[in-house]
């Protein structure tokens, strides 16, 4: 195997929406096989960071590298679970259709989805315990079941890196445990995972590394290093508001 770059490398990344900076000078290096939790208050820019890494938003400054390459090249190697709000749950698709979407990235524009893909999809549904629901319309499921289907779709992608935006939203405690054990297994098989999470108490147990984010990268490191009162206070307390205000002013002035 020839040496390759880090799965995700982010350098001095700045992202704004209509001149209002949302991320400001973020540096990040994620090693292969890490399970990273991303923590931060609402509006901290967590989703924005993930979308920028996925090359869905163009940064204003800095760069993202996927395995040492430009993100356009690396995109096929990343799996993604978007935040639930962005999905049209009334759309006429069944659970198995949704999981099959995970296989689309493996096919060119005109090549057809085959039996192999279907088998893979069933396998992934089985893994999240949702095979019995394969033919149900996706809109008929409960919020937690929908999240499990999304995890199955991510599994079907068979990527090397996964970015998940709040995969545990609306999931009950038991399901959350099974989902985290699936994530653990993925990590063991060498995948790199970044997961946005909102519950501080469980974040400490679930992840090896934590990224504290609030417009800036507040801290990144192993749980004992990062999960300190002081750093959390800095992330969730109001002190960074001044920075945000100033950054907006600077951006508008220029």
């Amino acid at each position: 195997m020839k040496p390759q770059g880090l799965p995700i490398e982010v350098h001095d990344l700045t992202v704004s929406y209509q001149k209002k900076p949302v991320l400001y000078g973020v540096d990040l290096e994620i090693a292969e096989g890490s399970l990273v939790g991303i923590l931060g208050p609402n509006g901290a820019g967590k989703s924005t960071l993930i979308k920028t890494i996925m090359n869905m938003i163009k940064p204003n400054g800095g760069y993202v590298k996927i395995f040492g390459d430009a993100p356009q090249k690396g995109i096929k190697r990343i799996g993604y679970i978007p935040q639930k709000e962005s999905v049209d749950w009334d759309f006429p698709v069944t659970v198995s259709d949704v999981v099959l979407m995970g296989r689309y990235g493996h096919h060119g524009w005109l090549s057809r989805i085959g039996q192999e893909d279907r088998n893979k999809a069933s396998e992934c549904l089985e893994q999240v315990n949702m095979l019995a629901y394969a033919d149900r319309p996706i809109g008929n499921l409960s919020g937690g079941q929908q999240q499990r289907v999304f995890l199955a779709r991510a599994l079907a992608q068979e990527s090397e890196v996964y970015l998940m935006d709040e995969p545990f939203a609306g999931v009950d405690a038991v399901t959350e445990k099974t989902m985290i054990s699936i994530l653990r297994e993925m990590q063991k098989s060498g995948k790199t995972l970044m997961v946005v999470h909102h519950d501080l108490a469980s974040a400490k147990e679930y992840f090896d590394q934590l990224l504290l984010l609030n417009m800036r990268k507040v801290a990144y490191g192993s749980v004992p290093e990062v999960f300190t009162h002081e750093l959390l206070q800095k992330t969730y307390g109001g002190k960074l508001a001044v920075l945000s205000e100033m950054a907006t002013k600077v951006a508008k002035a220029s």
């Binding site: 979308k51 996925m54 869905m56 995109i75 096929k76 990343i78 993604y80 679970i81 978007p82 935040q83 962005s86 999905v87 049209d88 009334d90 759309f91 006429p92 698709v93 069944t94 259709d97 949704v98 979407m101 689309y104 990235g105 096919h107 524009w109 005109l110 989805i113 033919d135 319309p137 996706i138 809109g139 779709r153 992608q157």
Partner: protein, 491 residues
Amino acid sequence: MDSRITKGIKNWIIYLGILSASSLLLDAKQIGSGEEFNWLTQAERFFEMKDPSVRRVALGALLMGISCGLIGSFVVTRRLSLFGDTLSHAVLPGVAIGFIWAGEKDNFSLMIGAGLAGFAGVCCISLLRKFTKIHQDSSLGIVLSAFYAIGICLLTRIQKIGYSNQSGLDSFIFGQVSALSSDDLIGLLIALGFIGIFIVLNFRQLLATGFDPQFSKSIGIPNDFLQFGLWVLIAFCVISSLQLVGVILVSAMLVIPAATASLFSKRMKEYLLLSSLLGAGAGLGGTFLSFLGKNLPAGPIIVLVSSSIFFLILFLRPEKGVLFRWLNARSVQSRIAIENMLKTAFQIVEQNGFEDNEISSLEIMKRRGLSRAEVEKEIENLAHSGLATKNLSSNPAANLPPQTVLTLTPKGWEYACRIVRNHRLWELYLTDEAHYEPDHVHDDAEKIEHVLGEETVRQIERLLKNPKTDPHGKLIPSITDIHQGSLSRST
């Protein structure tokens, strides 16, 4: 799912009402002109399809129905129905300008004009979205009415000036099938071809962007290109259908067949298939009816047929349909009434220590708090279902007039035991497993006893380890008791 459909449909009902009334009053535009009016010969003429104009219109309506059904599936699932509406109104000034430019009703220049106007409309919408905070539906409304107003002004102007060959230009507002030319047919065919090819080639991608745009972007699907493609195809579909149904009604054809399909389809493929079939059916059916009736304009009739199908299906569809639910509720109610009678009968027999199996109607009246007539009627129902036999009182003790006496048949007895058992098991389950207070459980059990399935009963039995008595200390008749007849009436 329902809100987006009802919104679209509601507009159409209003339009339709006004339109069908006004077009009946106006000089109506129908196909064929039968000399003497006879339903049967007229129908025969239609089905023989010898008349070339009939053939052309039927084919045109068929093609239009399929195109509108196909592209309409995407219009409805992506909530673009107001967009389709706007586009169809926006092409009207283009038609007028095309006419002025060519100086006559030349199909080609009209189409070009319509296309350009549609494009201008879409640009306006995009600009409004980009530079203002106006909601999408408002900006669509603004563009729609502005363009339509310009169109009407231009058309009136043309009529005032008095071009030589202006006749039939207003047909673009309401549609005029008698003017349908073979060029129009080719236009419809081309539109259908483009729509079909686009959908077949991009089916997977359309599915992914429609359901989850973020994800589809993440796997490199060009969302914007697909969206734009759909817009162009909607415009194609609208422009090619103008001659048949007119600018006002064409977007009804985009919405109604697809909305009807959405009542049952779980998957996009079913959706497309059903919607195009419904569109085609409405097209053909509408043409037929318009041909059959002497003064009926084809365009509005096609839309009317389409919406009638929608309401018919809404009413009749299995499981969720209004009719089905009503029938179902009735049968459930009568079953519950029978079960309640059986339960009362059981309780009376139980009170007598299972000695006496004759149940007087008087007793039932007392327990259920019903009138004599009501009880008589219910006893009649039981007897009718073979669950009980009815006799006149043989009790000589009193001088009372003879009264009805009920005896349960073996079948009725077994049924009664089962209901009582369901009731008492459920009460026990609630107190023991769900920790309800014993005095809370009766009302709940009253409802549940009628709906507990065999399987659930077994499950509760296992959970409670085959109990013998309920929370009030009464006997729970077990299935073996019922079968072995140990509880049975002293015969």
